[in-house]
């Protein structure tokens, strides 16, 4: 067949998922090693900072519980201040993990294996931070169990018509399913660590959590089936949790909140911010722990593309909101949006617009998608933008309500600021503990995508086999 009649198009070959020609044992060694030795000095420095911030958080919570929510900047029209902004911010971040582990798994996106473990861990920790804020925002923390439908003699029963209650269930179910999913994925790797453990205590602890895993064929069959089922169960949750969070706003009748676009727009924003946070953490972790061969430049580039995609979707939603406000001909709706872009919070609005819609557009350029400093910068900027998105939605919609005499400007107090900073302390402390004690990469899964896992690999690489 001559070249001129050949119609087949050859796609450029996918770059290998693991670089550096690593073998099975190299992966085990590269990842397990970090749970077995003293962590690098950077770990200690970061831990010092984040545990200090965690202490600040606890002090702030104690101060809040003692004095009541008056210590925050929440005022009369702005009843939902920073705590709700922070809640939505953290829940949003907690979306990347399950997206990576469940949806990308079902779509057979094998590049997820390098990042899913740490992304899921990050998800869990972000959801813990998220759950904290509504809990302390209720004011009477000690009766938070009223949100649960527990039979009681007071005949207190939750209001099932309220999206705030749906939230309680949506977020806590999401947390539990993510936790189970993460743990199931961890079992084979914990068994690997157990088998490498040198002292009896470590072996017993890891042995307990690896549930008697021996790597038998039956174990793998059950594991794969469970993992697939859990992925199918978690997939709708990725979409439902932030939809329900958006109902907190959309079900109300406040102009600026009462829109049907909220659920998809919130979900896109959540994935956007979650990927940005994964990127921030992994750019640092891969460098410090020297796992650039497992989390490669191509992984980062794929994440950058998702950030570009979801950022553009979010930006499209921002513009749609304006269009609908004009198209609806509802005076109040129009005012709410004009006020966002030109009113006293215009600075926040334009920060949001430039961070979320404009900045990720640089990712159309391949060179920037593969530049570590630029990726790192963007990941930070995206999360700043997404915090401002929640701030804009929450505060600008409330600060000028239906009664002009009660219009007010929202100013955060020092307690607001320190509580938010402290939540990063909680998040980072948990993440650092994870890096220290658990395999940060799903070793068993990465081994499945190695070229060596192809049964015919050694047909072509016989010399290598002998060398090994």
């Amino acid at each position: 067949m001559s070249a001129s009649t050949d119609k087949t198009v050859t796609l450029p070959a996918e770059p290998p998922l693991v670089t550096g020609n690593l073998g099975f044992h190299d992966i085990t060694q590269l990842v397990s090693y970090h749970t077995e030795k003293r962590p690098p000095s950077v770990w200690y420095m970061t831990m010092a900072v984040s545990s200090t911030l965690l202490c600040v958080l606890m002090l702030m919570i104690a101060y809040l519980v003692w004095n009541g929510v008056g210590v925050w900047g929440n005022n009369n029209p702005v009843g939902w201040g920073w705590p709700i902004v922070n809640f939505v911010f953290w829940v949003g971040i907690g979306h990347a993990g399950t997206l990576i582990s469940a949806i990308l798994f079902l779509f057979r996106q094998q590049w997820r294996t390098a990042i899913n473990r740490s992304a899921e861990a990050m998800t869990l920790f972000a959801v813990i931070c998220a759950l904290l804020f509504p809990t302390i925002h209720v004011g009477r923390v000690w009766v938070i169990y009223w949100t649960l439908p527990l039979p009681n003699q007071m005949e207190m029963w939750p209001q099932f018509k309220s999206p705030l209650l749906w939230d309680v269930f949506a977020v806590s179910v999401y947390f539990m399913v993510s936790l189970i999913f993460w743990y199931v994925g961890l079992v084979p790797d914990l068994a690997t660590l157990r088998d490498r453990a040198r002292n009896a205590f470590r072996r017993r602890i890891l042995g307990f959590f690896s549930l008697g895993w021996t790597g038998a064929n039956r174990h793998w069959r059950n594991y794969e089936k469970t993992y697939l089922l859990l992925a199918a169960l978690a997939t709708p949750l990725v979409l439902s949790v932030h939809s329900v969070v958006s109902f907190d706003f959309a079900v109300s009748i406040i102009p600026g909140w009462h829109t049907t676009i909220f659920p998809p727009y919130f979900v896109a924003g959540a994935i956007f911010s979650g990927f940005a946070m994964v990127m921030t953490l992994l750019i640092l972790a891969r460098k410090i722990y020297g796992i650039q061969n497992i989390i490669t430049m191509d992984h980062l580039e794929k994440m950058a593309i998702i950030i570009l995609l979801t950022g553009t979707m979010v930006g499209f939603a921002y513009i749609t909101e304006f269009f609908i406000a004009w198209y609806s001909q509802v005076e109040y709706e129009q005012y709410a949006f004009l006020n966002r872009a030109t009113g006293p919070y215009a600075w926040a609005y334009w920060t949001m617009m430039s961070c979320n819609l404009l900045f990720p557009q640089f990712f159309w350029i391949k060179r920037l998608r593969r530049s570590i400093p630029f990726l790192f910068l963007t990941s930070i900027i995206v999360n700043i933008g997404m915090w401002f998105e929640r701030f804009v939605i929450t505060v600008t919609s409330l600060h000028r309500d239906f009664l002009p005499s009660s219009w007010d400007y929202f100013n955060p107090t020092i307690v607001d600021i320190l509580t938010f900073a402290g939540s990063f302390g909680l998040f980072m402390t948990l993440f650092l503990i994870f890096l220290r004690y658990l395999p940060m990469v799903a070793m068993a899964e990465v081994k499945m995508v190695l070229p060596q896992s192809d049964p015919h690999y050694y047909d072509k690489h016989e010399s290598e086999h002998e060398a090994n």
Binding site: N152, Q153, R204, L211
Partner: protein, 215 residues
Amino acid sequence: MPQIFPRKSNTLPHLSLGGMLGSGVIMVFLVWYYFSPEYTDVGYAPEQPVPYSHRVHVDQLGLDCRYCHNFVEVADVSNVPATETCMNCHEIVLPQSTDLAPVRASWAENSSIPWVKVHQLPDYAKFSHAVHVNNGVGCETCHGRINQMEVVQLVEPLSMGWCLECHREPENYLRPNEEITTMGYIHSEGFLENNLNRIKQEGIRPPTNCSACHY
């Protein structure tokens, strides 16, 4: 490789599953029983600054509740009597009693006696005494046999569920308006029918919606 755990540890998954279910049920029971006002509040009988005995005043002397709590029929709050109300009698009766020293001091200094509140409702629950006593809810129904108490104590849980019991079926509790302050009242024969008629005629419709009390 030697086994890390003995064979009997294989029962652990089943045990923990059972334990989780069991502890869930126990948790619900603990909240249901111990977190309820019936457990935490009933029987509250704080020591008062003056050892005032309702038994003596009501049962032995036959004072009507409204002699001291005189705004109960017109106000939301049933007032604790002013010192002057006490002194109406105690200027003449037992003027030297040491037990009454705080009352005389209060009268002389024009200051309040720091009575301790026994029947406390949360700030977010609004309650009107007037509405209740003018529509057939007796003092005794909520406060119990005050006429037998040396020290006033809480006898009903005052919880929302308890309020709703009556709001949903008032015919079980209402009494004629002339018997409002009667202690130890016994319902007459056929009171259910009488109450149902009265509820119909007078249009007594106790609300059960949230904003009836929470506004």
